[in-house]
């Protein structure tokens, strides 16, 4: 299951929701807003998502991960809106019988999510300017 939320992600609630008595390994990845990107000091990040396609593509990604690395439970939540340094932007959790599947499925999910899901982030720099991440000319736009 994948979700998009405008409010703070509750990691403890998510973790508990993945409990399964057959699970011996549980792997989580969290994306945090950090204070720097490509040498520029970042003050906050703004995330935008097109939710219907985040959900449909995200569920495809979860199914692909399960086909390759059979897991018992998996869940992903992506936050949108304006986030501060240290805020949690994305949470991916996978519970499986053994640790290998949990690690590999979790990694697959976050890697594919970053490449395929219609989510964008705009960096707001300490200097007051901003730029969309992953766009070759973002820096130029941001510095205008």
């Amino acid at each position: 299951m994948i979700e998009v939320t405008e409010t703070a992600i509750e990691t403890d609630r998510l973790r508990q929701s993945l409990f399964n008595p057959g699970a011996g390994g549980f792997c989580v990845f969290e994306g945090w807003v950090r204070n720097e990107n490509e040498g520029r000091e970042v003050q906050r990040l703004e995330y935008e998502a097109h939710e219907p396609l985040v959900i449909s593509e995200g569920n495809k990604v979860l199914a692909e991960a399960r086909a390759q690395f059979p897991y018992l439970e998996a869940r992903c939540v992506h936050r949108t809106g304006m986030l501060e340094i240290g805020d949690l932007a994305v949470w991916v959790g996978v519970a499986s019988a053994h640790r290998d599947e949990a690690f590999k499925a979790c990694r697959y999910i976050i890697d594919e999510l970053k490449q395929r899901l219609p989510i964008w982030k705009k960096e707001h720099y300490v200097g007051g300017d901003s730029g969309w991440v992953n766009c070759e000319r973002c820096a130029a736009h941001g510095q205008q």
């Binding site: 097109h50 219907p52 396609l53 899901l117 219609p118 989510i119 705009k122 736009h141």
Partner: protein, 84 residues
């Protein structure tokens, strides 16, 4: 607009919304594919962005740039994604 014009709703996201100065517009366009929609709106809004790392969806389904567009379709133009 010609007799072959199709009514297409175009939705712009992130950087594209900023280029277009709007989130959405409905246009009558002489287009066959998603690529044609991208090119025509790019000209319209003076955007220089190539479609290399961009994606497109039609009626909320991911599509290829070569996918045909039909009268009444909604075309979503996605600049390079950066989740996580």
């Amino acid at each position: 607009m010609t007799g072959s014009g199709k009514t297409i709703t175009v939705r712009y996201f992130a950087m594209f919304r900023e280029h277009a100065g709007r989130a959405e517009e409905t246009l009558v366009l002489d287009v066959k594919t998603a690529q044609d929609v991208f090119e025509q709106t790019r000209l319209r809004h003076g955007s220089m962005e190539p479609n290399g790392h961009c994606k497109v969806a039609i009626n909320d389904e991911m599509a290829d740039w070569s996918s045909p567009v039909n009268d009444g379709d909604t075309v979503l133009l996605f600049p390079p994604v950066a989740g996580g």
